[in-house]
Symmetry: C2
Subunit: 410 residues, 2 copies
């Protein structure tokens, strides 16, 4: 009946992760600097750096700083340790990105998907061929790859690694074994919300606050939540499904089958529906591909004198988004909320001011008074980066440096 | 910039708290039994039990178990160590409860308040006189009291102990110093949502799951959230303000000033408004005291053939409550949700089945498939009990046994 306890071993593991993050974020750093940014003692830092160097994760170079004094050792991630792959499987595309072991992007392959073809066999083959193309493009073989991480939309269940469930895609189970056999590499699969939270934790704001939520705005929407430097996963790995919390009781039908979900208002198709309600015959109202629609909205919103229907759609969307964020802030009360995802990259600058105003107005008490709402600082494909970070974490777990429990490893 | 880190000292503190909880929950126990239920090693348990006995928190008696073998020491809380007081300041009453150091209730004083008189001076004096009456009734002096905990409605802010904000009461600041001077005892003040979460953590389901939410249903409504045996406080101690998350965008006006909050539908006045909408001239629709209304609803719902308007009000409230709980489950994804508060005690049995059905239907994916929804197992006044537990925690912190950071201590 006892809950899983955090042990001294976990604390050592967390300290190793902190040191690793410090090196990763700094690019180049020193033992003293790591001690300063992590709050760990210099002797703990020295021990951990030794362990990371021994495993070839961190590399050391010597250089002299200043005109006098002993040479100071500079530490960097050992980029040459191997390659890590992150694959972002979205409704509208598969993107496979290769990183070196310092999480620098090396190569990427982008396969548009027909967003209307959802069967498991097609998606698995799409992932497999994206990986093959990526390896070819990067000029590496499977032996160079430390691990592959795949972010699958939907509610990936099962902390013990049992199964994946992607209800939006009409799959009952992602055929994970099939996927593993097709790829032939150490594999982790995770929910995109946990993946973006991981990216924020490794590379974004998550290291520097006690609580944050990262909002993914795309076809679907959701929140990656970080509390005290840990990802909030929830009992069935479905924490953060804020996109399927209610905005309007008995409101618009959501593609999840329920009514009034946040996603039905601020997901890309929801934004298009808002435009359709405002002006049914608007030329952008009938674009059939979501990404074309969002791009066209951004172009229209960026004009000196935007089309009134577009302007009103942006205002209305910000009102919905701010209201829905206020709900999340009411329950979790984080220090920072960041926005990410392709809708953010396209429309974020137009949405942000009115969203912030509505959020502050709507959040209870002073919950949002000091809240920071900003666009995520994690650049590039945050999903591919985050899931590559989890794949690297799995590798570090396999070599005995971490005790992280990763939900689905294959 | 580094976040507060959990240290080995914190782990020792948590282990002490685990041992204390094990003794408290068991009533009578042994070192072996504690090791089994907490998952701590026998030697750690022995060390901690020694520390708790030395401080007079735990008491030891000897008895022989079985027909052969050495006598086994039985451990109990040392109830005689002193008294702890928990004060539940609600909109409609002030209840002061005296506990022994094993958190057994000894005496209680219940002062109905005029729910329409909200000024700080009146409330402070009401708390002070409730405490005086309680001491008289319990036959003890201030010297016997280890500490007093007070739960104040509203959003108590300030992790560093700065100020309390009770917006519903038109107070800008609870006059905490005034309160401390009036009481003349070591004091902690906390938000009722953190208090009920603490009660669940010390005495309810919270010890035995990795995540839970406890829903308080009364005049106001809110959620106490426990994640991995810790209270989710949030950046401004206002996490769990689920009662002021949206149920209906632009819906009913809430007494917080915003529109469509959960509280405006499932708080006691909200339930009465639902009845009023269903049958404006209903005899219960115009009762002016909330508690009279809720009691009358329970009486009416318990009849063999309930009044259709009452029945419909219960159904509608369960629909609202289940929908709003599904939102909380979508974001936090806890293992267990418990219901507590005076509306629960009165109407829980009538609300629970339909609430559960709506929750399962409305929660995304499988987030609610294995979720347990039940009435809290913490009996008596959960708010007074929870805040007394925090006062005891403060005492244990003062004597050096814990490292807990309690938001507002005076």
């Amino acid at each position: 009946m006892a809950t899983p306890r955090r042990t001294s071993r976990d604390i050592r593991s967390e300290s190793r992760l902190d040191v690793l993050h410090a090196v990763l974020v700094a690019g180049e750093t020193t033992r003293n600097e790591i001690a300063r940014t992590t709050g760990l003692s210099p002797s703990t830092v020295a021990t951990i750096v030794g362990e990371l160097i021994a495993e070839g994760i961190v590399a050391e170079t010597k250089l002299t700083v200043g005109r006098v004094g002993r040479p100071t050792a500079t530490l960097t991630m050992n980029a040459a340790r191997g390659r890590v792959v992150g694959i972002d499987v979205a409704e509208t595309y598969v993107r496979a990105v290769m990183f070196d072991a310092a999480l620098n992007q090396i190569a990427s392959v982008d396969d548009p998907r027909d967003e209307h073809v959802l069967d498991a066999g097609t998606v698995v083959e799409g992932i497999g061929s994206a990986l093959d193309n990526l390896l070819r493009q990067g000029g590496v073989t499977r032996a160079d790859i430390l691990g592959v991480g795949i972010a699958l939309p939907g509610l990936v269940q099962g902390v013990s690694g049992a199964s994946g469930v992607v209800p939006h895609w009409n799959w009952d189970r992602v055929e994970l074994v099939h996927l593993r056999d097709r790829l032939g590499l150490p594999l982790i699969v995770d929910n995109p919300l946990k993946v973006i939270a991981t990216a924020e934790l490794w590379l974004g704001r998550g290291r520097y606050c006690s609580s944050m939520a990262t909002i993914n705005l795309g076809t679907g929407v959701g929140a990656g939540i970080v509390l005290e430097s840990r990802i909030l996963r929830g009992a069935t790995n479905s924490a953060g499904e804020w996109g399927h919390s209610l905005l309007v009781l008995d409101g618009r039908r959501c593609r999840c089958g329920r009514h009034g979900c946040v996603e039905a208002y601020v997901g890309a198709p929801g934004i298009q529906q808002t435009l359709r309600e405002i002006e049914p015959g608007h030329p952008l109202a009938d674009l059939t591909m979501q990404r074309d629609f969002i791009r066209a909205m951004a172009d229209a919103a960026g004009l000196p004198d935007p089309d009134p229907a577009v302007k009103k759609t942006i205002e209305r969307t910000a009102y919905y988004l701010g209201s829905a964020l206020a709900d999340l802030v009411a329950v979790v009360n984080p220090e920072i909320v960041t926005l990410t995802g392709w809708t953010t990259w396209a429309l974020g600058e137009y949405l942000l001011p009115a969203t912030r105003a509505r959020l502050i107005d709507q959040a209870p008490g002073r919950a949002a008074a000091d809240l920071r709402l900003e666009v995520s600082t994690v650049r590039g494909n945050i999903v591919a980066t985050g899931v590559a970070a989890i794949a690297l974490e799995r590798f570090l777990t396999d070599v005995g440096l971490l005790t992280t429990r990763i939900p689905i490893t294959l």
